[in-house]
Amino acid sequence: MTETDNIVVETAEKIFADLADPQTINADKAETWKAPLWQALSESGLPLSWVPEEFGGSGASLAEGFGVLNAAGRAGLAVPLAETMLAGWLLAQGKIAAPEGAMTIAPAHPKDRLTLDADGKLSGRARSVPFAQDAQHVAVLAQSAAGAKIALVPASACRIDRGLGLGGDASDVVTFDKVAPITTAPAPQGLDQTSLMLMGAVARSLQIAGALETLLDRSVTYANERVAFEKKIGKFQAVQHNLAKLAGETSAALAAATSAADAISSAEGFDDAVFLEASAAKIRCAEAAEKGAAIAHQVHGAIGFTREHILHRFSLRALAWRDDFGNESHWAVELGRKVAARGADDLWPLVASR
């Protein structure tokens, strides 16, 4: 998968460049820029990339969709594109047609459990659900006596306690108090809550990697422009070494995220290989976000700390995305347990199998 020969990604990049460029965003304090952006995205079919045409989507491949999310990360995108894509994907797993409009997905936290009772009503509470207040529908993965179920729920039927994430995007608590779904379907064999978290983790990994690409790009550009002590700051060795480290973290995030996306795109289901790739990607991308955002701010100095500067739109989102669909500590414990259970002598064969 390369961006240059991918028409779906090119379409996304063009829309982001036209309608979500830094100048548009900076000039529009009320954030009314989001409506035309979402309109253009909807018309392009991108939010339903992962929904087959028979269920009302645009039927792009998983690989193409992940490429779109990487591009969305590069744009620091502040609308529920990833969430609607993930929701559409989940619904399609249950052969449920995707409705129009923005969607989100629940649960988004690995420790939250939603249940579908015998009377067909949903119960439970999902924390840090991204963009729930902006969504018309929620795609839900719930436990039931008969196994995992996928449900399509109108957002208006849920209680939504509004919250704001670190990156400035909505991150809400969604409470299901005996909510009746529009429709439900059994989840296919092998699709459980861990699979959903892995899928979300890879989506966020690509977004983090994209944000880091932009942080690197902008930091290098800034270092080549800003003069201090009578030199461009990029000429100072200490700054060069910091930027080299930022390039390393960006590369690591990109490599881990694209490898995991490739693994999911070419696997039959959520097997051990996908688990390794997806959990490792989320862990490594989160670590890269922490180190990378710090360096980008260091290079930019005080100006990057201002609200008016564009930097925080990328740095804070990269940091915020660490927490969705399992943070790095969560996945490190899960991955560590899996490795330990397989045993020391199986560690290298597992790593070398990828």
């Binding site: 390369t2 690409e213 690197l216 060069q240 080299a244 960006t250 590369s251 490898s259 490190a332």
Partner: protein
Amino acid sequence: MTAALRFDPIRLPPVCEELRKEVRAFLAEEIAAGTFDPNKPQREDSDAPEFSRRVGERGWLGMTWPKKYGGHERTFLERYVVTEEMRIANAPTRRFFVADRQSGPVLLKYAPEHIKMDILPRICRGELCFAIGMSEPNSGSDLFAAKTKATKTDGGYLINGSKIWTTSAHIADYMIAIFRTSPPTKENRRHGLTQFLVNMKSPGIKVNPIAQITGQYEFNEVVFTDVFVPDDHLLGEVDGAWKQATSELAYERSGPERFLETYYVLTELVRALGSDPDTRGAEGIGRLVAQLHTMRRMSVSVAGMLQAGKEPVVEASIVKDIGTIWEQQLPHRVRELAAFVDGEASNHATLDELTAFATKLAPKLTIQGGTTEVLRGIIARGLGLR
């Protein structure tokens, strides 16, 4: 993008998986026969010459080189698999590794035909050991500062001066080294260095051992007193070795050997923590495995770029920078996590011993193949900052 960094997710093709099985079976046989102990990375490689020949017999040396020089015309990805399996098993590769990775490719590119026909097949048979003469006393990573002279004489050159930190010089048959053939110019500090092939049996060469803090012996000082090197042993351009030496380093910087040198402490940690570690132990393992997996995916991606005929100088430097920092920190992280190892763990003593050894080894890792500072300079240049 100012900096277009791409690490495409290259997958090793099925032929590599077949090869991996063969290499593992071979190494298992060697271990069973007592050639080496995979749990003793700190040993001396006394029995390596025979092992080296057996690796050559299997066709695992000069894998990517033309058949007419004894090579096997296989892919970089196949060579990659052999390298990582040897490294993971702690196989005694010291005798052939430099020749296979670096010296052979340099000869292929710059040596006259009759020298290639003579030397390359012997490397492929595992008969020759090479050393690299770059650093000198008081020059180190600053290659421009090299002073050891090659003075033109009848039919060749006379070498006077010394090289230092020369790994394996005491067992090497040949050294590929850079010597000063003229002074640097004001405009070009890089000017004036020439690359030569030196037969280590030549009169006038003295090899002085340098003991390391690990207790191992790999490094040497090599003193040259009127050592004669014939004209046809000059490699490439007179006074123009700088470019040759830097492109050689690209091969040295991205391979799996650049992040797996202390890998064994991770295996021992997993063994010691057992099949059901507590949360802190599990988290520690998970993070280290995620980092390892990511570096390996980056390294495989660079191998794919080499296979595609690209020159991924910046990407290779990034892999080495991240890789060496990781393998250097690994024994320290394992030491921290050893707090959660049960006293009854069967490999407690082995873990302690290996962690101590890797801790002593660690300072070397960010120096060999270019210091971290030098690498970050290369990356910064790639980013357009210099």
